[in-house]
């Protein structure tokens, strides 16, 4: 049994416009020492999935199971879950500028977390630990900076402080929700390095949420790609980067600057993210898919194993797409297979891509 096993998680919110189906059935697992990357664009359900695990999505309707060391996070009492939050599962959020309380000193915010879960620790001991942690995440002169307010820290330093806080109780699982998105590119690399190093040191499990496949290219053991609240492709890092199957994953890879698919200019994925109130029929991605076929509009594809490098199917590399399981990778042969399938499978279906991306 893995440290965290999420089975068929569904999350929806009642709003005045209708029911927003933010997550529509996602499963994943992660173990100590492992990193799971969850990738998707805004509204793909990647943040909601993980925040739901910790009960941070107020007012949500939740289905499914999320077993953490065998106990279901989704059904346990609020008090029990609260004792897991921060202590067993720590979170790092996207915007370090707004994620730290502006009116309290950085050190005090770390001390507060330590003493909440370990009340026997004295203030002095907790403070000493906060200083050590700040030093470990690379804050210079931590014994002085511990008494700074967040606004006296730069963005990168604030994220380091958030990481220090997340690590303060040696959690078994760290969930990092776009931890580098709000930072400068140079600082991004430093923060990612730091997280990788500390994860190894602490041997915790890490879930890294991002919209940028480039961010987790060096980090993730496994990757889950989400689109419109559903998983569309799941694979180990190598397979996902070199042998993507789902057209959305392929699109994400091609939209990374300097990737093999984009020789001269960036290739954006045309169209807008789907409505989560009235998601498209069939495959959620079909309105934006360049390989749309008739059945994509009517039938919903489920995750299924696709072809492995050595010719067999790989149960750990699964994709929810009607294209043949051989249509893998960015090479011309794969493109040939795709075009062949489309030539047979498309008689009436059209989408915005085939109508011309110019209109977007």
């Amino acid at each position: 049994m893995s440290l965290l096993e999420v089975h068929d998680l569904k999350v929806s919110f009642d709003t005045s416009d209708g029911v927003v189906k933010a997550v529509r059935g996602v499963s994943f697992s992660v173990d100590r020492g492992q990193t799971l990357g969850i990738v998707g664009e805004s509204g793909s359900g990647k943040s909601v999935s993980t925040q739901t695990l910790l009960g941070l999505t107020g007012g949500a309707r939740i289905e499914g199971r999320a077993l953490f060391e065998g106990q279901d996070l989704l059904t346990m009492s609020e008090d029990h879950l609260r004792r897991i939050r921060g202590k067993e599962i720590a979170m790092i959020f996207q915007d370090p500028l707004s994620s730290l309380h502006p009116l309290y000193k950085v050190g005090r915010q770390i001390v507060e977390m330590i003493r909440q879960h370990e009340p026997e620790v004295t203030k002095q001991q907790a403070r000493k630990r906060a200083v050590e942690l700040l030093g470990m995440v690379g804050i210079p002169q931590p014994d002085q900076r511990v008494d700074d307010y967040p606004h006296q820290f730069s963005g990168g330093m604030r994220q380091r402080a958030m990481i220090a806080m997340a690590l303060s109780l040696n959690p078994k699982l760290i969930v990092a929700d776009e931890p580098t998105t709000a930072l400068d590119a140079t600082v991004q690399a430093q923060i990612l390095d730091l997280m990788l190093r500390l994860q190894r040191e602490f041997d915790s499990a890490l879930i890294m949420i991002t919209h940028d496949l480039g961010v987790i290219a060096d980090l993730a053991d496994n990757v889950l790609v989400m689109y419109g609240g559903k998983p569309v492709e799941q694979a180990d890092r190598r397979s996902l980067y070199y042998r993507p199957h789902h057209p959305y994953t392929k699109g994400l890879l091609e939209s990374i600057p300097g990737s093999s698919g984009a020789k001269d200019r960036l290739k954006p994925i045309p169209g807008q993210p789907p409505s989560l109130i009235n998601p498209p029929t069939g495959c959620t991605f079909h309105p934006r898919c360049p390989y749309i076929m008739d059945r994509c509009v009517t039938d919903e594809p489920q995750l299924r194993p696709v072809l492995d490098a050595d010719g067999g199917t790989n149960p750990n590399h699964r994709s929810a797409c009607w294209l043949p399981i051989e249509a893998i990778g960015l090479k011309p042969e794969a493109e040939g297979i795709r075009q062949e399938a489309v030539a047979v499978g498309r008689t009436t279906a059209t989408n915005i891509t085939t109508q011309g991306a110019e209109a977007q």
Binding site: L56, R85, M91, L100, P102, E112, M113, H117
Partner: protein, 314 residues
């Protein structure tokens, strides 16, 4: 901090000076001959001249204003045109009533406003929240004199718990002071606490949507710590700012409550001096009211810098 204080005090003095100049000019621009009022309708030209001379109104305006200013710098507000008594004494007797009324009411409305505001925000969109919202609407819409007269009717004649209108100095009889002020406090606090309930509710709801509140929850803090230590701490800053300004403004502006409850405060003095054209008293009450507004603003800024470490007083 010291530089800030000096700058603000200098600025405040300038504001007060402009206020006196404005009131002075307005007074003479709007009343043709102040002396005529005091001399009576059938006064002869001689009497009129005598009155004018006695009040100093026969001197050029610049000289009159200069006299006012030089006296003011010595702390002397002059003599009332009407009663001939020193204005300093009139202010001294009116100020304790006004301050007692406002500071007492302020404590009540701040506490009740924050408490109901927090309840309203944490139980947002529940029946309780809607009930509070309805009560607030009634509180805001109710004219002060209706509240005041109703309270007087119920608590002094139907159920004689409190004494009728009047004021007892705190130094003379603390119990009497308190008994006389309870109803005025409630009157004044009712409207204000309604406003502060809305203010606290809105501010706290805004803060509870902040990312750092999510961080506090993710840290595993219990909900009451999340709401009070992390939420309310931030939400109170705008509330306290408003509070300082309101207290300052109200010092000269609680006429209805003062009148109904027979409190001889600054509000009453203001109206009396305005209706009789008693220039020295008008100048004095305007100065006092402006002084408290200026003072409140300086205090608010200083308190703000303690509440929010991002604010530097430079």
């Amino acid at each position: 901090m010291l530089r800030f204080l000096i700058r603000r005090i200098v600025f405040g003095v300038v504001v007060l000076w402009i206020v006196t100049l404005g009131v002075f000019l307005l007074f003479f621009a709007t009343s043709k001959d102040p002396a005529a009022r005091f001399a009576g309708k059938s006064a002869t030209a001689d009497t009129l001249a005598l009155v004018r001379h006695k009040l100093g109104l026969d001197q050029p305006l610049t000289v009159q204003y200069w006299h006012f200013l030089t006296r003011l710098l010595k702390g002397d507000l002059g003599y009332s045109f009407v009663t001939q008594s020193p204005v300093n004494d009139m202010i001294k007797s009116a100020l304790p009533a006004s301050l007692s009324l406002i500071l007492g009411a302020a404590i009540i409305w701040l506490l009740t406003g924050i408490v109901t505001g927090v309840i309203s925000a944490t139980k947002a969109r529940t029946l309780l929240d809607r009930g509070i919202t309805a009560a607030v609407l009634v509180g805001i819409s109710m004219p002060a004199f209706v509240v005041a007269l109703t309270l007087l009717l119920v608590f002094t004649s139907k159920l004689p718990i409190f004494p009728g209108p009047g004021y007892t100095a705190l130094t003379q009889n603390p119990a009497g002071w308190f008994q006389h002020l309870v109803l005025p406090w409630v009157t004044l606090a009712l409207l204000q606490s309604a406003i502060y309930t809305r203010l606290t509710r809105g501010s706290l709801l805004d803060v509870l949507g902040e990312d750092y509140i999510r961080t506090a929850r993710a840290k595993g803090l219990p909900e009451n710590k999340v709401i009070y230590r992390h939420g309310l701490r931030s939400a109170l800053t705008p509330v306290l700012t408003q509070f300082g300004v309101d207290v300052g403004v109200l010092i000269g502006g609680t006429l209805v409550t003062e009148t109904v409850f027979g409190l001889q405060g600054i509000g009453q003095l203001t109206v009396r001096s305005l209706t009789t054209g008693d220039l020295p008293v008008i100048m004095a009450v305007v100065l006092i009211a402006s002084f408290f507004v200026v003072l409140a603003n300086i205090v608010v800024d200083i308190v703000y810098s303690f509440l929010d470490p991002r604010v530097r007083l430079e």
